[in-house]
Amino acid sequence: MDGEVELRVDGRTRRLRVDNRTTLLDALRDGLGVTSPKKGCDHGQCGACTVLLDGRRAVTCLSFAVVHDGAEVVTAAGLGDGERLHPVQEAFLDRDAFQCGFCTPGQVCSAVGVLDEVAAGHPSAVTADLTGPAELSPEEVRERMSGNLCRCGAYVRIVEAVRDGAR
């Protein structure tokens, strides 16, 4: 069975027919040719498919496209301002916070999501004071970024880049 959805992807409105079994990730990649989010596991286990979905970070392999009619999707390709990269992306380049780059679009989207969450004061599992403002300590960044696996082992640089990107 098919369904029709309208998505706003990286600022462009797109309509497409999808099989009801099609994940949001496959709809983006196969249906719309938006290949910035990657498929590392297809099971919500690696974070490579992370985008900002209606402003919050989300893995796109775990839900069906048909349920996202009208959603706003921002991928790593749409984070920058025209030709200018997002500060988090610049920080990833400076810190060399990646190697193969396959986890990177997901890391970058996740990082932007983390910065927003911290700015909004959302606590994490390692936040000691649940009433005060959230901090961007290395420990907080590590905890909050742990849903994004990096097999190349760029974690220590990712933490630096996320903190740089906040400045």
Partner: protein, 694 residues
């Protein structure tokens, strides 16, 4: 001795040239390559470890709307060569391991292909299987040689006498687990077959090696096979040789001429189809004199191979290089099992093979009452112990000393279990690292001058996250005497000159030497003011350095480990490595490689373990939720440093290769630190908490 290139671009740290494409996700990996109206393939795999396919019913699958074809052992075309049994897709009705591909369904959408695959009925007459590796099997055998072409066994002196003379003996068995490479990008191939020409968008560590394997399997001349792979989402050895999915994609494409066929493996399928690191059982015997010198050294290593194709991990080989001892031996034995074929995983040989011996060195140091850094220094060989060759350069001692200084080793109280901080036992440990300088034959490079002032350097090399796009261009710039920005490097395509595989940390040595030779030939021919379109193509020059010298990189890794008093939870708050790896071409990128290797070593030490269900012959924890790799919060602090090392023998750049050494020795350093923290000696990886809860 080679003429060392004067570094101008080398030694600087430009950012990755493909970086902007990677941080935006626009760098095209294999399955991102745009193709027109593709169809999708899905695999049907064996659910038993051994048997014979007696029938395949594809009726229901073919009846699904959108299904184009189903290939099975009954109808698959015969391949020209089945010499590589791993690539002999659908050529026989025998089932050799659980997970073997028994059919491939091609349909218009991936959803349809996947559903139709579940409708294919394969009847397999099951046979008894045997997948259990153990050191006491009666059928262990000696392979003819081990991976890398090394001798299976070596011996020198009289081991029994050497052990008898010793004041202290360590005789222990150490084990490493079954590991899956798990590059973050699953293997994927898109194949288009038109007019006897085959185009493959593949994820490979070597476009030319993939081309050769595929061409040979199908009986095509290599020029008819075009492989494109500009960006690779990690490989760690798993993409170093062609695997069966590439053949299946090509086979499906041949059945559907001119239609692009996409085949992407699932994470789960990677646990049976793309190689893995064999589990190892290592008996290590070390004898030490009262003053802490090795009198005897033996490593007897056991691993597994599949029954249908042999792979022999060279686990005992690093012991031939590391320490001096008059009496010594190394052996390798294999169990041939009904399992998928093991293959390369980051530092095959060295990674598992430096676990047992480096833990044993810690045990013997303690027995001799010596500091483990000092103990290693005391056993430095003057020449490579087994070959007798001088080292082109060997700076293990400098790495140990510099590492000890940076880590703050001198304040260490050697007593195990002496330090406790708020509920955690704290300890520190050290181990050595090593990796050979490998040079692979068969590369060529083309250099063309394109006005105004640009040099196009072409070589079919690979960047699997290693930084080739950037660092090979830096080398070319120095070889040509121009700025890094004036070099336009092209890699990752078989239309470019031949290049060896990105494996064995040999990439920069092999491709760099080739590019330098091409640059020198270009300048000789055209001088400093070439005309537009001047070009020259040159093959990698021969080198006899390895006849005269033992060439290896070395390193020392230091770990701090915390073990929770009540729960046994193990954390590694700090890892520090110092390496001697020759010249470092791009420090920014090199640090990532070394830290990445150490991080993978930490992951191996604490988490990684593919669990085999012996009843069914498969890895049960076959995904990233259950096969744990280190996450961000597991890795708080990893530092990599290097010492200045000038080695005129390895190649014109003076490099040694940095992709693999970082994972070598890490697990031993962590295990040694855990012993220092708790007094409990773990000899079987991974270092899970049950080892410490008593």
């Amino acid at each position: 001795m080679t003429d060392l290139l004067r570094p101008r671009a080398m030694g600087r740290s430009p950012r990755r040239v493909e970086g902007p494409a990677k941080v935006t996700g626009t760098a095209p990996y294999a399955s991102d390559q745009p193709v027109h109206d593709p169809v999708h393939a899905w695999l049907v795999q064996a659910e038993v470890a051994r048997g014979v396919v007696t029938s395949v019913d594809t009726g229901r699958a073919l009846a699904e709307e959108g299904v184009l074809t189903v290939l099975t052992p009954d109808n698959a075309p015969r391949l020209a060569s089945t010499e590589d049994a791993e690539l002999a897709a659908l050529q026989s009705h025998d089932v050799d391991f659980r997970g073997q591909v028994l059919a491939v369904v091609v349909a218009r959408t991936p959803e349809t292909a996947r559903h139709a695959a579940s409708l294919v009925r394969v009847v397999v007459e099951q046979r008894p299987h045997d997948v259990r590796l153990s050191g006491d099997r009666a059928d262990l055998y000696a392979p003819e040689q081990v991976n890398g072409g090394f001798e299976t066994d070596t011996a020198e002196g009289d081991l029994a006498a050497g052990l008898a003379q010793a004041a202290h003996v360590v005789d222990r068995t150490y084990t490493t687990a079954w590991y899956n490479n798990n590059p973050l990008e699953p293997h994927a191939t898109t194949a288009v077959w038109s007019d006897e020409n085959l185009l493959l968008y593949d994820s490979t560590q070597g476009v030319h090696t993939t081309r050769e394997a595929v061409a040979e399997t199908f009986g095509l001349s290599p020029e008819r096979v075009h492989v494109i792979s500009p960006h690779v989402g990690g490989g760690f050895g798993a993409k170093g040789t062609a695997h069966v999915h590439a053949i299946l994609a090509a086979m499906a494409a041949r059945a559907l001429p001119d239609v692009p066929v996409k085949l992407a493996l699932t994470r789960q399928q990677m646990y049976s189809l793309v190689g893995y690191r064999t589990p190892t059982i290592q008996r290590v015997r070390l004898g030490g004199s009262a003053d802490g010198r090795l009198t005897a050294l033996a490593v007897d290593a056991i691993g597994q191979t599949s029954r249908f194709k042999e792979f022999a991990e060279q686990t005992a080989v690093p012991a031939r290089t590391m320490y001096a001892a008059p009496h010594r031996r190394t052996t390798h034995r294999l169990a041939a099992l009904d399992v998928p074929v093991p293959a390369w995983m980051r530092a095959p040989g060295e990674c598992p093979g430096m676990f047992g011996p480096e833990v044993a060195m810690d045990e013997l140091a303690i027995a001799c009452g010596l500091d483990p850094v000092e103990f290693r220094v005391r056993n430095e060989p003057e020449v490579e112990p087994e070959s007798g060759k001088p080292f082109s350069s060997r700076n293990l001692v400098a790495c140990l000393r510099e590492g000890a200084r940076r880590f703050g080793w001198s304040h260490r109280d050697p007593t195990p279990g002496a330090r406790q901080e708020s509920g955690w036992r704290v300890g520190t440990g050290v181990a050595a690292s090593t990796y050979p300088v490998n040079r692979s034959p068969g590369s060529e490079a083309n250099i063309r001058f394109t006005a105004p002032g640009r040099y196009r350097v072409e070589i079919g090399a690979a960047d699997i996250g290693t930084g080739t796009w950037t660092s090979l261009a830096q080398i070319a710039a120095d070889a040509l005497g121009v700025d890094h920005g004036d070099v336009e490097l092209r890699i990752g395509d078989t239309r470019l000159p031949k290049a060896s595989v990105a494996g064995g940390s040999s990439g920069i040595t092999s491709w760099g030497s080739t590019v330098v030779a091409a640059a020198r030939a270009f300048r000789e021919k055209f001088g400093d003011r070439p005309d537009d379109g001047d070009e020259t193509c040159v093959a990698m020059p021969e080198s006899s350095a390895s006849d005269d010298y033992a060439m290896h990189a070395f390193g020392a890794q230091f770990a701090e480990v915390r073990v929770h008093v009540d729960t046994g939870e193990v954390r590694v708050p700090r890892l520090l490595g110092v390496f001697a790896v020759g010249r470092v071409v791009n420090p920014r990128l090199a640090r990532s490689q070394l830290v990445g290797g150490m991080t993978m070593g930490l992951s191996m030490a604490l988490h990684e373990h593919s669990l085999l269900d012996e009843r069914f012959g498969h890895v049960v924890n076959h995904d990233l939720a259950e096969y744990h790799i280190a996450t961000n919060s597991d890795v708080p602090d990893v530092e990599a440093h290097w010492i200045e090392e000038h080695d005129p023998h390895t190649n014109p750049m003076g490099t040694k290769g940095i992709g693999e050494i970082g994972i070598v020795g890490t697990a031993a350093a962590i295990v040694n630190a855990a012993h220092h923290a708790t007094g409990i000696r773990v000899r079987d990886l991974p270092l899970t908490l049950d080892h410490f809860v008593r």
